[in-house]
């Protein structure tokens, strides 16, 4: 399960991929002194300085639970499988090929030969076993070299890991688990050098060693993380020399730094500035639909939110389209479903709650609240994936007030907020709260099951509003152990229809991933899981 941070980070994570996507693009064979290729000026050298939202917490990929750490650490590692460019379909990574036994329980991975970690250690089947067991076996001698917040979510279904020969590994599961291949491309499947872990112990998180396209150089806390290119990278050396990640927390400060030239690549653009930046010839704006959802959750254990009519009424009362059009502008799209449209099995044939205050009043009256009621609305002051929480919530508050529902907003710091909303049912104090999620691995299970299944009430998962629909729960359980994608799609389509009609949330939008970078940076593609792939990027 994603740890709290995940919410934000959740997104992140998955990065699975090794950075290196680049394999298919033939890299220039020699570090030839500026020998431009005939078609495009693909030159060597240059430094990309990324303005991140927050300081990374660790550079050990297996310990990551937040977006910013994931982004900073991503280039250092390769993963067993990797997500294709701009997609959450998997392709070979450090495992060149794989077989799944007919009962769906045994995954045999054939590893790439001749790959070395940055410290010279060979990558082989023993290294894979070491990396996985370090996370899941409490008796492993190096288990105490870190905390592994994603281990249960990613590897909870793994029974054992066996070395068949130097370059073949078998992973046996306790039960069939449909999204398992995707998990092999997530950040806990990043391969770290066993020698380095043995050498540094807990300090591995500040001395990371992987097989990826970039090598770790230094980390000055609060200032920057510096990576340099790995000239011996097995997919071919990256074209840029260095990547530097700098935490710049304030959105406006980050933007100012970009315009001043202190950084040349930034995330989280203030929506009202986007149009101006798109016109600015100095910059390129890169966008991609995100695996993200922003919503207000009801506490289903409390009246009046246990009444479907009240939840539907409040959905009708909020002018979501206006929020998306005017506050988020081009940084998000209207959401009608907890599942983002970029995730397979998405359907738009669900109950629609378009803005209709008349209908809202009528439903409230039917539910016995003709004069509305009062409640509290919890909001974090900021947070990864939360976009503009206070602004959006204040707009929602005004809409709800118009139909008689008087919400008092209470604002919390993000860390405190997560501690207060991710609690078991008996400790839940809230009425209504704002939350967001960014998918880790592109599987619908990672949105629907973990966020809305009755099996996933905290502390087991992240169904923090305690929504429960027996019929949907049964379908989701079945989909987890069904391997056939067509069958799963059918199941998830039914699930979406059931859930949306119950109106467990007021769903507002799916955020678009946006970065703004120096026009000289070329060849960059965003990935739906969040991290940046710089191995094929060059600077003019």
């Amino acid at each position: 399960m994603l740890k709290r941070t995940c919410f934000l980070s959740g997104l992140v994570v998955v990065a699975l991929v090794l950075l290196a996507c680049a394999a298919p693009v033939a890299p220039p064979a020699a570090p030839a002194p500026a020998q431009p290729t005939p078609t495009a000026a693909v030159s060597e050298g240059g430094t990309i300085i990324v303005g991140l939202q927050a300081e990374p917490t660790t550079l050990d990929s297996q310990q990551i639970s937040d977006y910013n750490s994931h982004r900073a650490a991503y280039g250092i590692y390769d993963h067993l499988l990797r997500f294709k460019d701009e997609s959450t379909e998997v392709e070979p990574g450090l495992a060149e090929s794989w077989e799944i036994s007919s009962d769906g329980l045994v995954y045999t991975l054939h590893l790439r030969q001749g790959v070395k970690f940055h410290d010279g250690t060979d990558f082989n089947a023993e290294a894979v076993k070491f990396n996985l067991e370090r996370q899941i076996d409490p008796n492993h001698p190096y288990h105490d070299t870190g905390e592994f917040p994603y281990a249960e979510f990613t590897w909870g279904m793994v029974k054992q890991v066996d070395v068949v020969d130097d370059y073949t590994v078998q992973i046996t599961l306790k039960e069939r688990f449909a999204p398992f291949l995707n998990h092999l491309a997530m950040h806990p499947a990043a391969m770290a050098s066993p020698t380095a872990i043995q050498q540094y112990g807990r300090d591995f998180s500040i001395h990371p060693v992987g097989t990826g396209p970039f090598k770790f150089v230094s980390w000055t806390p609060g200032v920057e993380v510096v990576l340099e290119k790995n000239p011996d990278y097995w997919r071919g050396a990256p074209k840029i020399d260095r990547v530097i990640y700098r935490p710049i927390i304030e959105d406006q400060a980050r933007l100012t730094e970009l315009e001043a030239g202190g950084v040349n690549f930034i995330v989280n653009i203030p929506p009202d500035e986007l149009a101006r930046l798109k016109q600015d010839p100095r910059f390129t704006v890169v966008e991609q639909p995100g695996m993200h959802t922003w919503w207000l959750a009801f506490n289903h254990l409390k009246a009046p939110f246990n009444d479907k009519r009240v939840r539907q009424a409040m959905n009708y009362a909020v002018n979501k389209q206006a929020i998306v059009d005017n506050i988020l502008k081009d940084t998000g799209i209207l959401a009608i479903n907890p599942l983002p449209p970029v995730v397979w099995s998405y359907t738009d044939e669900v109950t629609r709650f378009d803005y209709n205050p008349e209908k809202a009043r009528q439903l409230l009256a039917e539910a016995g609240y003709p004069d509305g009621f009062s409640c509290t609305l919890w909001v974090p002051e900021s947070g990864s994936g939360m976009q503009q929480p206070v602004l959006m919530s204040t707009a929602i508050q005004a809409d709800l007030k118009a139909v008689g529902v008087d919400c008092k907003i209470e604002i919390f710091e993000w860390g405190i907020y997560l501690d207060k909303v991710i609690v078991p049912p008996e400790e839940a104090e809230y009425d209504l709260f704002a939350m967001s999620w960014i998918g880790d691995n592109g599987d619908p299970d990672n949105h629907l099951y973990i966020l809305l299944s009755g099996d996933q009430w905290p502390p087991h998962g992240y169904n923090m509003g305690f929504y429960k629909n027996e019929e949907a729960d049964a379908l989701m359980r079945e989909a987890r152990v069904t391997l056939d994608r067509a069958k799963r799609t059918e199941l998830y389509t039914k699930v979406q229809k059931l859930i949306v009609d119950d109106a467990p949330w007021i769903i507002i939008d799916h955020e678009t991933q946006i970065v703004v970078m120096d026009r000289k940076i070329k060849g960059f593609k965003l990935h739906p899981t969040g991290p940046f792939r710089f191995e094929n990027v060059w600077m003019e």
């Binding site: 005017n326 206070v390 907003i409």
Partner: protein, 287 residues
């Protein structure tokens, strides 16, 4: 014709001196206007300060229907400034009254009775003063929970030592004076001596201190609101408006400049008036 000697009371004299101080008069007039606007907010404000209009966000100054533009949710800035002034002035004066009330009581007791009571009270006051004021206020709000009332309470608590020390200092010198000794000798009870003789003679430094302090309180409350600890959405309050507007400083600077200017003007006016009062009431300036 014999020149009639008109006896003027010290208060009249002070008022006359104050009237000659042009800065103080300007300050007083500005404050009077601000107070008037705040009182008449329901009548003067053209719109409901919480009425959002997402289609008209960040409208510039002079937009029809929005004389001072609209904010990040399309709310009328003029209306929010008017209503926000009401909140800011109320919090400023309210916090001063609370702080002064407690400060005066403990200061009087410490100064008049002396001894162990003085030691205990003043050590507690020292503890309060040991923390930087705004930091202590943040800590108090953090433990009470965010909100306008708690923010006001926090800055009141932080303000107590200021008054307690002023009063105690005055009382210490007053209690040795003959008229106090005389009152004591004829058997007047302590409470009567304190309220009828001691307190009225401490009033001038108190009035000066309070006037200057209202400005500080307004700024502190706005500061707490700016940090998200004071007024909560959708309440219009100058500190909140400033904080929310900061995000749009490049494209719509009026969102933060206007509430900032409002805070500046009111605090400046209070300082002018406070300085004027000090000059007018300071006995050393008396001829």
């Amino acid at each position: 014709m014999g020149g009639a000697v008109i006896a003027r009371s010290p208060t009249q004299e002070a008022l006359q001196r104050l009237r000659r101080d042009r800065m103080a008069v300007a300050g007083a007039m500005l404050l009077f206007c601000a107070a008037l606007v705040s009182v008449l907010a329901p009548v003067l404000a053209p719109q409901d300060p919480t009425q959002t209009n997402l289609a008209q966000r960040l409208a510039p100054i002079g937009t029809p229907g929005y004389p001072l533009g609209s904010d990040e949710l399309g709310r009328d800035i003029l209306s929010r400034l008017i209503w926000g002034g009401r909140v800011s002035l109320l919090v400023g004066f309210g916090a001063v009254i609370v702080a002064m009330g407690f400060g005066v009581i403990v200061g009087l007791m410490a100064g008049y009775f002396g001894g162990w009571l003085d030691s205990v009270i003043m050590r507690l006051i020292d503890v309060l003063m040991a923390f930087p004021a705004i930091l202590l206020a943040i800590a108090i709000v953090a433990s009470l929970g965010p909100g306008l009332r708690n923010a006001m309470l926090a800055i009141s608590i932080v303000g107590i030592p200021y008054y307690a020390r002023i009063i105690r200092g005055s009382v210490l010198s007053l209690r040795e004076l003959e008229f106090i000794q005389a009152a004591r000798i004829i058997g007047a009870p302590d409470l009567r001596i304190l309220t009828r003789h001691v307190l009225p003679n401490c009033l001038s430094p108190l009035i000066v201190a309070a006037t200057l302090d209202v400005g500080w309180m307004i700024m502190a409350a706005a500061g707490l609101s700016f940090l998200g600890l004071g007024a909560q959405p959708p309440t219009a309050e100058w500190g909140v408006m400033l904080s929310a507007g900061r995000q749009f400083i490049r494209i719509a600077p009026h969102l933060s400049v206007l509430p900032g200017a409002a805070i500046l003007l009111v605090v400046l006016a209070l300082n002018f008036l406070g300085d004027g009062l000090r000059d007018a009431l300071d006995p050393r300036l008396r001829q």
